[in-house]
């Protein structure tokens, strides 16, 4: 039957009859599809290539475009990276950033799992409004919060301490994670939990032994996404941390590696590159989770 239908529509190619848009084939497909696509990829990736190539260029090549082709490096050097690792506090900044991001993520995940469970599973009067309030909290940007937050941090005596960041990052992590986890909990059949409760499990046991294992993909998505967001955070780290050795990588690269009017582009680029690598590695292992959390957050 299907074959017959297809054969009756000879003007449609295979792909057209399956409904996928297809801009014919051959040269036209190259011009409307592959050419723009490769331009996009080229433009999106070029800054990283430029960052990497600058990081391994010796100064002579870096500042002389007449005699050296700037797109390539003839005598690569690791001096910039060595200088960064052994003559600055860079390892310390990396460690601080990682620690702050990990603790803030763990704290946010803990709070978000409980909150999402309460909102989605323990349905109570007004649970929808609590969900909405959390969604609205996600729409409050850090740019309008950092000044009053700085005074609050000062009053609490947390200024210039990693605790300041650990406690403030959850303000944008919890709304995001909770929202994502509510979506995941929704997709888990409630009957499974009912079974456990009929067998005598308490609600917390149900959460721990039934719901959480099933929501693992959601937890991983939320977790790595929260980690990346904390790693990338800038404005709070800039406003609340003063001592050079306690800064996070994004802030330290911008404020500590720029000395006066002389920009050491080689080590600046090496700093930017090294600071991006941990998230890039994490990303490469969990691409699908990233995409899931990005699109999951948007779809809800």
């Amino acid at each position: 039957m299907t074959d017959q239908t297809l054969s009756q529509r000879p003007h449609l190619t295979d792909k057209e009859s399956t409904g996928v848009i297809d801009w014919s084939s051959g040269p036209r497909r190259f011009i409307v599809l592959y050419l723009p696509l490769s331009l996009f990829v080229l433009v999106l990736l070029f800054p990283f290539y430029w960052m990497a190539i600058t990081a391994i260029k010796p100064n002579a090549e870096l500042l002389d475009f007449k005699n050296h082709n700037p797109f390539w490096v003839t005598s690569p050097t690791l001096d910039n990276i060595k200088k960064l690792l052994f003559q600055t506090d860079y390892p310390q900044w990396l460690w601080t950033t990682m620690m702050v991001a990990a603790v803030a993520t763990a704290l946010s995940l803990f709070a978000s799992v409980l909150a999402a469970y309460a909102i989605q599973r323990l349905k109570f009067k007004g649970s929808n409004y609590v969900g909405l309030a959390i969604y609205l909290a996600y729409l409050v940007p850090p740019s309008i919060l950092f000044i009053p937050m700085a005074t609050l941090i000062f009053q609490l005596g947390l200024f210039d301490s990693p605790m300041a960041l650990i406690l403030t990052y959850p303000t944008f992590l919890i709304p995001f994670c909770t929202w994502l986890l509510i979506g995941y909990f929704k997709s888990i059949p409630y009957e499974l939990e009912e079974c456990a409760m009929i067998d005598g499990a308490t609600r917390l046991q149900t959460l721990w032994q039934i719901t959480l294992p099933l929501a693992m993909p959601g937890l991983i998505s939320a977790g790595i996404f929260a980690f990346t967001l904390s790693w990338n955070e800038f404005i709070y780290a800039l406003a609340f941390i003063q001592s050079a050795e306690k800064k996070t990588v994004p802030v330290a690269v911008l404020t500590q590696l720029v000395e006066g009017d002389v920009y050491h582009w080689g080590s600046l680029m090496a700093g930017a590159l090294l600071g991006s690598i941990p998230v890039a590695i994490l990303y490469s292992f969990f691409v699908d989770y990233y995409v899931a959390s990005l699109t999951g957050a948007v779809k809800e």
Binding site: F48, I134, V253
Partner: protein
């Protein structure tokens, strides 16, 4: 039989200690579960939001408690040329960057929605600019925009010979503004493209099939099938994008710090400059609070303006 089962269950429940029963008591459990999130958000989000609005009506400085001075901060801001410039900059930055991001992002999403080899690898590569810390990629742009060693100038002048002089990207107000907008678009494209791609993939192929049987060409299929079906997700992505572009801080702070001569300040960077290094907490808070009406308007506009069409569409189709 049923009675017996209920009885065994009841006795089992009675065996449990009071603590276990307390944690199974629903109102208590709800309170406990909501407590960590609510406490953190109330102390570090709601309270600062209120405090910020209060600060904007005072003359607080760092190290000195302020007094209520009414609307004085806002009045002085209205006659402050730098502030007015920053408002225009923010509006320009948000509108041009949003149009650019959505135009290019939608195009990229449509390209990716084809049958391609290595599709998931391609998708992974495209998301990289969005994953890497903004400040760090901004530093790369800072170097790309260098007046003497810009690679763009090098290509235009020395390779292609289209220009005679190197471009002074960040030294003049208008080139600097557009350089910042270009960097923002670069960073925003992946987010828009991947979210919209997710939306495109949910559109049933049978709709295109039906449109094609009715003789619709590619543009008509896009206009009457793809675009309306994409509207719900487009509305949400647009809301987020406008919100985060409007309050952007990192890119501008990293690339120009508001320079040259305060001409590229956004409201957020100006609030920072006045509030933290400048010490004028009251005035900085007033600038930050001045963003709120714009944000509320932008959110309501992009959400309701587009979401309304979404359910109209939904009624027709479902």
């Amino acid at each position: 039989m049923a009675v017996a089962a209920v009885e065994t269950r009841t006795t089992y429940k009675l065996d449990q200690s009071w603590l276990v029963r307390l944690f199974d008591y629903k109102p208590f459990l709800i309170a406990i579960c909501l407590f960590p999130a609510a406490a953190l958000l109330l102390v570090f989000l709601s309270y600062p939001l209120g405090l910020g609005i209060w600060l904007s009506f005072t003359d607080t400085r760092i190290g000195r408690p302020g007094y209520f001075i009414g609307l004085e901060n806002f009045e002085s801001l209205l006659s402050d040329k730098v502030f007015i410039t920053s408002v225009w900059n923010t509006l320009l930055y948000t509108s041009v960057a949003t149009i650019g991001k959505f135009g290019l992002g939608l195009w990229l999403a449509l390209l990716l929605n084809n049958n391609l080899p290595f599709k998931s690898l391609l998708r992974a590569i495209i998301l990289i600019p969005w994953i890497v810390p903004t400040v760090l990629s901004a530093i790369a742009f800072w170097w790309i925009y260098d007046p003497q060693f810009s690679i763009i100038s090098y290509v235009l002048v020395d390779v292609l010979g289209w220009r005679d002089t190197y471009i002074d990207f960040l030294g003049q107000p208008w080139p600097a503004r557009f350089s910042l907008i270009a960097a923002n678009i670069w960073r925003g494209i992946p987010f828009v493209a991947i979210s919209l791609l997710a939306g495109l993939q949910t559109i049933s192929p049978s709709l295109y099939e039906a449109a094609m049987l009715d003789g619709a060409n590619a543009w008509q299929r896009f206009k009457h099938v793809t675009f309306p079906m994409l509207m719900p997700i487009l509305a949400v992505v647009l809301t987020f994008s406008v919100l985060f572009t409007f309050t952007d801080f990192q890119l501008v702070y990293a690339i120009t710090r508001g320079g040259p001569v305060n001409s590229t300040h956004l409201m957020a960077t100006l609030a920072f400059q006045r509030g933290i290094p400048g010490g004028q907490l009251g005035e900085g808070a007033a600038i930050a609070v001045a963003m709120i009406p714009f944000l509320v308007m932008a959110t309501l506009f992009s959400y309701f303006g587009l979401a309304r069409r979404k359910w109209q569409q939904g009624e027709d189709n479902d």
